[in-house]
Amino acid sequence: MAAGDGLVSMTPTSIAHSGTSASINADGGVDFSAVTSLSLNGVFTSDYDNYLIVARWDIAPLSDPAIRFRLRTGGSDDSGTNYSRQYFAVSGTSVSAERNTSQAQGTWSDTSEDNVSGSQLHVYGPYLAQPTAFRGVHVSGYTSGYFFDVANTHSLSTSYDSITFFTSSSTTTGNVHVFGYEE
């Protein structure tokens, strides 16, 4: 049995944003401030099948401070109705769930809370020319805990090298970093 490194930092080849600012830091993560969308280009490659994306969000407290995403290739987001999601959320003693199909975007986090949030998004096979699966785990709430788990699927058998995150209306500030699972 031998062993190699497990997680590889995927430095975007470029980024694009709407909002105040975004920049790639020395470790390959991306810092952003008051953005409504952020595209990370060139983070999925043929070197790896699966990816882990870790983010810290500080979301402006509007009515629907959710983080959505779209797969992207050739500089264009796939905004077709090719996404499905299933989530469950736990807040206090309340547990809720919902499934939505034929959506024009995936969902990473979806919460009525504001302030500091943290999320993981596991992305299974985005660069493979087959449909892609996503699994998000999200925590939010500045003074109370709230968690949101979500599974997303994207139905097109297309290879994607990039991803765009966006909000519905709020701005968000934080850091996001894409890692490839060594294989």
Binding site: A3, H122, S157
Partner: protein, 183 residues
């Protein structure tokens, strides 16, 4: 603070598959690729080097099924009724739990009948001479859309295991990597 790789990709000693026309291979760095595999036997993957492990997989299957596991030692599968699991499933507006004990196998993931399925699983102490805990998190594609399945699985025997037997129940294809968490 010194920096070392925290997640180490493991190259198993061997892998084999059962099922009509099945195949399973190990890449140079440790990536397991399988096709038409109903079961996979992965040996020489758990050792005294690491206590805890992470498995990441993207998989397709012809018919929706749960993925079961058994631990192995020196090529012998532990088939006695020493496994238990707790499941949480979210589908549509339902969030449901179930528990099973005294089983001959554990339950680690759900795999849907679409082609976009992914899961990751943590194994806590399989090579230690003590009972083993595990946690499986899957993004499942089913006909109705996306589905969430999560599992906590336990094996109650105080033995050390170096391998694992995975039972997809139906022919599956995909890739899988297993990492040790540095300690």
């Amino acid at each position: 603070m010194a920096e070392i790789a925290g997640l180490k990709l493991i190259v198993p000693s061997s892998v084999s598959a059962t099922g009509a026309g099945s195949s399973a291979t190990i890449g140079a760095k440790g990536k397991i690729t399988y096709s038409s595999a109903v079961t996979l036997q992965i040996d020489g993957v758990f050792s005294a080097t690491y206590d805890n492990y992470l498995m990441v997989a993207v998989s397709t299957i012809g018919t929706s099924a749960n993925l079961y596991l058994r631990y192995r030692a020196a090529g012998v599968t532990a088939t006695a009724s020493n496994y238990a699991h707790q499941q949480l499933a979210a589908y549509s507006t339902t969030v449901a739990g179930s528990r099973s004990t005294g089983d001959a196998q554990g339950l680690v993931a759900g795999i849907g009948d679409g082609v976009n399925n992914g899961f990751h699983a943590y194994f806590y102490g399989p090579a230690l001479s003590q009972p083993t805990a595990g946690r499986g998190i899957s993004a499942q594609a089913v006909a109705a859309g996306a589905q969430i399945n999560e599992f906590a699985f336990l094996h109650t025997v105080s033995s050390a295991y170096d391998g694992i037997d995975l039972n997809f129940q139906n022919a599956a294809a995909g890739t899988m990597t297993i990492y040790g968490l540095s300690q």
